[in-house]
Each structure stands twice: as C-alpha cells, then as structure tokens.
C-alpha cells in the first residue's frame, strides 16, 4: 500500500455534551481526489477544520507524509503546504485578483526597496498570478488587477482555487466548491479540480452534490455520526448506495474495502 500523504487517527472533538468527532480516522493517498460526503451535522466540517487548522481537536494525531504535525491555525496549515478553499472563498472583494492571491504572503521587491522600504513587488505578483490562472485555463479574466467584486461567482471560485493550487504543495482542500454555482460554472470548477489532480496534488473534496462527487472522486470517505463510516470506490457503488450509507439506511461494507 502506498504511504498516505495526510492521515488522522482517533481525532476527538467535543463541544460541551455534543460530540462533533469521535475517534475519527482519515487517510489521503498521493495524487488522489478523495471526496468526503456525509449528512448535515455528521461532522464533516469539524474534520475539515481540524485538517485546515481552523480548530484544534481535543485528542488524536495528524500526520503529514508520516511525520506527526500540529495544525493550530490556518497560517500553520499553509506553511505545511495545506491550502483550503473555503465555502465563503475568503477573498477580499475590494482588492485585486493579484492582491488576493498573495494575501498574507506578499513578495517584496529585491534590494533596498524591499528590505528597507518594504515595497511590494506588484509586477512579479501579477505575473505569477497571471501564470497560475492561465495554467488552470482561467484567462477569461482580462485584467489581473481588476477587483474580485467585478468577477462572476464562477470566476471568484476560480481565483480561490487557483490560489490554493498555486501554493498547496501537499494538499488542496475544497469545501463545497460547486454549491453556489450554476451548471456551466460548476463544470468549469470540476475541470479545474481535474487539472490540479494532473499536477499531482492530492485533493480533498467536500460536496453534497453526488453527480459531481462520482464524476471526479477516486475514493469516497463516508462520514457519519462524527467518524468515518467507510471508504468506498465510486466504481463499485451507485449514488443511491452512497446516500443510503450516509443516512444510515444501508450498513457499511467490511472495513477492508478501503
């Protein structure tokens, strides 16, 4: 078996009496698209937040490429090469595409302008942003310095995904990337996900949209009642099976199916 990129063992998280995660396990293999599905309230977001640094589990272990890591903040997750595209996208609407892509990791000009006067290298950031967007086939955006608020929903999603793909050296997490999009724009985002996969970066995809999940996922992690119920191969199961597993209408297959 290939070694997993990102694993979690026995993660626990409680909010008072509410158990959000109970001995939750998780495995992401190199180069794969792993979809996470689960009913509302199953604890998907808690798991994702634990992996992206937005919350600290009460107990349990997370390993990145075999080494135990603690991820206490989104900034730490980013330093580990784990990039997340949040459902809210986390873009600043009044700032430009390039500003947004480099938010929190701006490049300074070389020499004294950068070291002493802290001047940003806007040209270089714009050039990189343009490269990253065209790499992902997103160059329908004419002007890299236009503000994010002037973009359509799909284009904004594209910018957020491009930002994650540009800096996510180990893992890219996508939280409901198609939930707010129309048919045509969803298609683009799905293509985008496949493009990132071709670059060899493993992807965690959280989605409620079964056709989308079954189209792109290599494996599906079914989350139920705060833990991983099972992992299924989308080729062996139908969408209605997956929904039945999620809702408890169907018993999970034997564990070794993973």
């Amino acid at each position: 078996m290939t070694e997993a990129v990102l694993t979690a063992r026995k993660l626990n998280k409680r909010y008072g009496h509410v158990v959000a995660m109970e001995d939750c396990d998780f495995d992401l293999l190199p180069g794969e698209i792993l979809a996470i599905i689960g009913d509302n309230g199953a604890g998907k977001s808690t798991l994702i937040k634990a992996l992206s640094g937005a919350l600290r589990p009460d107990s349990g272990e997370i390993r990145l490429e075999g080494k135990p890591v603690t991820i206490n903040s989104p900034i730490q997750a980013r330093e580990l090469g784990i990039e997340t595209v949040y459902q809210t996208l986390a873009l600043s609407p009044a700032l430009s595409i390039a500003d947004n892509m480099f938010m929190g990791r701006e490049l300074l000009k070389p020499g004294i302008m950068g070291s002493l006067f802290r001047q940003l290298d806007k040209k270089k950031m714009q050039a990189i942003a343009r490269d990253k967007l065209s790499e992902l086939g997103l160059m329908t955006i004419q002007n890299i310095s236009q503000t994010v608020e002037t973009l359509s929903g799909g284009q904004r999603q594209g910018v957020a995904v491009a930002r994650a793909a540009a800096f996510g050296t180990n893992v890219v997490i996508l939280d409901e990337p198609t939930a707010a999009l129309g048919v045509k724009e969803s298609r683009k985002v799905l293509d985008l996900i496949k493009t990132i996969k071709e670059k060899g970066i493993p992807i965690i995809l959280i989605s409620h949209n079964m056709p989308h999940v079954f189209e792109v996922a290599d494996r599906i992690h079914v989350h139920r009642l705060g833990k991983r119920l099972c992992i299924i191969d989308p080729k062996d199961y139908s969408m209605s099976d997956a929904v039945a597993l999620m809702t408890g209408a169907m018993a999970p297959p034997d564990k070794e199916a993973a």
Binding site: A54, A90, L91, S92, M103, L108, G182, H208
Partner: protein, 353 residues
C-alpha cells in the same frame, strides 16, 4: 440533485444575451462607477477643483492668491493630520472618536512636562508622542482582543482622555511667550517657509509628508494591503493568512501616534498649550474622511482622498467667509456634501453586485 442538467443547454444561452444587452445599455454609467470604485478620490478632487474655481471667480484675487490658498492649508493642517489617523481606522471599518482628545492630551503632556516637571522639552515631546501611542494601543487592544465595537471603545476613551486632560491641566493655558522663551521646540510646527506670497508652516509640511508616506505604505506594503483586507472582510483576511488582530492593534496605535503629532502641531498653530482646543477634531476628521471618499464600511478609499476632503472643508470655510456669508452656510453646505459623499459610496458599493 442535478435536476437542472436537462435544461442546462437552453438556460446557458439566455443569460448571455441578457448580459450583452444590459452591457451595451448602461455601459457608460457602469464604467464611470467602475472607475470611481478603483479611484474613489476622483470625486473629492473634482469637487475641490470646482470649489477653488468657483470661489476664485466669486472672490477674485482675495481668494485666488498664493497667500489665501496656503492659508487654507494652514487652517486645515491640524484636522488634516488627525484625519490621516482617522482614515487608517475607518479603512478597517472602525471609527475613532478619541482622536481629538488624544491630540490635546499629548500637547498638554508636552507642555506640562516641560514646565511643571522641568524635564528637557525634547524629552517632553517624546513623552507626549508616547502617550498618543499608548492611548491608541489601548483602543486597539480593546477593539481587537476584547472585541468591543470601535465606536464604544473610542467613545469611552474620548471621555477618559478628555477628563484626564482637564484634571491634569486644571484647564490652565500655557502662554505662547513662555513657550517661545523656555521650550521653543514645542512651537516647532508653527515655523514657516515662504515662497513669494505662499506661506507654508512646518505643520502644513508635516501634513503633506504624512499623506505621502501613508499613501505609500497603504498601497505599496503588505501591512497596507492587510489594512484594506481587514476592513473589507476580516474573516476572509484571517483565513487568507492575515494577522487580523495584530493589524487592528497597529492601526489604532499608529493612529494614536499620529494624533499626538497633531497635538504637537497644534501647539505650533496656537502658539500656546490650550487644554480647551481641538474639541471638534473627531467630528471634523470624520467629515474630511467621508467627504474624501473613504467608505465607512471599510476597505475602500485613500488617504489622498482624505486630504482633498479636508481641503474642501477649508476652501468652503474661507471662500464663504470672504464672501461675507454667515458661517452657518459653511456647515449647511458641508452637511450636504457629507450626505452626497455617502450616497456616492453606496452607489459604488452596489455596482460590485
């Protein structure tokens, strides 16, 4: 789940045609608003130039002279400096009501420390500047970490600092002659440079340098970009890796420091240290910022706009006074300008959707 897929083909066609139509229809207006969205200081600049031309025509040479125009700069210098601090805070979607009180407190500390404590005036100036930094930092910590609304924090800080100022100074003015004799450095920003009829006080030069410096910092450094991001959407900024709390604290701290600089410049302007001065600086600075096109909702606008905003107020004030109009006309027109400016801001923010 994917029920729309069947009708997807037909649906895709329609919006494009509609979009195309509406694009042609309102392109001029949208383009104008789009331009203003990226350059919100264009309107105040336009208003400023128009006001100078109109008052120039009405008043003739009394107004349109190097002396009168630089007099306007001198008259707006203090409020302008305070408004630079206010701009920083408002860009983060906050507001600072304590700016004037901090400025006056700093000037009183500079004066009292020099005269009552007998420490060297240079050191007293540093103490005054330090006090501004301290009050600003306190504001910032309360806003960022205790998560109190900026309006409440600075409303409280305004009262506290103002009361402390009166208690400490006993409302006693330190006279100009005394300062000139024993601690001339306190009046540093009152010194002037003249070119022909134009008179620039050091206070005016400080204002212009501060505007240049802040424009550079806000547009060219990561800290500046973070200030905008925090004002635009703090949660998004946090998730994108901006240290939102640290940014907020630094904004209020730097704001407090700039207010203390204004307090120093205030001694230069008045000649004396007066605990009663600067009472309206908070409202006047907010006026300059709003007329200057900075959005009260944060994340939009520029310090250059604030300078234009402050100058507009100065031009109206002097222009109307030279015309012999009742001073209430100034307030009336400025009031109308404030409402106009916020209306424009709302329109600009709506185009984004």
């Amino acid at each position: 789940m994917n029920d729309a897929s069947g009708s997807g083909e037909t649906r895709e066609q329609e919006p494009e045609i509609v979009a195309d139509f509406s694009n042609r229809h309102k392109s001029a207006m949208t383009r104008l608003l789009g331009f203003l969205q990226t350059t919100p200081s264009a309107i105040p600049l336009f208003v400023l130039v128009m006001a100078i031309i109109i008052f120039g025509i009405l008043n003739g040479h009394r107004f349109f002279s190097p002396f009168a125009l630089t007099l306007i700069l001198q008259q707006v210098a203090i409020v302008g400096i305070v408004a630079v601090a206010q701009s920083l805070v408002i860009l983060t979607a906050g507001i600072d009501l304590s700016v004037g009180a901090i400025a006056v407190m700093a000037s009183v500390i500079m004066g009292k420390f020099s005269f009552d404590l007998g420490i060297p005036p240079e050191l007293a100036v540093l103490c005054g500047l330090g006090s501004g930094l301290l009050f600003g930092t306190a504001n910032g910590l309360l806003v960022a970490y205790v998560k109190l609304p900026p309006f409440i924090v600075t409303l409280g800080m305004w009262q506290i600092v103002l009361a402390a100022n009166f208690l400490y100074s006993g409302s006693v003015v330190i006279r100009s002659e005394e300062i000139a004799q024993k601690a001339p450095i306190l009046q540093f920003f009152g010194r002037t440079i003249t070119f022909g009829g134009a008179v620039f006080t050091y206070g005016v030069i400080l204002l212009l340098l501060l505007v240049l410096l802040m424009s550079y910092i806000l547009s060219q450094t990561s800290w500046g970009r973070h200030v905008y991001a925090v004002g635009d959407d703090p949660e998004a900024a946090e998730l994108s890796g901006v240290k939102v709390k640290a940014t907020l604290v630094s904004v209020y701290a730097i704001g407090g420091f700039i207010c203390a600089l204004a307090g120093w410049a205030l001694i230069g302007r008045l000649g004396s240290v007066s605990p009663q001065a600067g009472q309206l600086a908070n409202i006047e600075s907010i006026t300059a910022v709003v007329i200057g096109g900075i959005s009260l909702f944060g994340g939009r606008g520029s310090v250059a706009g604030t300078l234009f905003g402050a100058l507009i107020v100065g031009v109206f004030t002097l222009g109307l006074r030279l015309l012999g109009a009742d001073v209430q006309w100034t307030y009336l027109l400025i009031g109308a300008l404030i409402i106009f400016a916020v209306t424009i801001d709302q329109a600009i923010r709506k185009v984004s959707l």
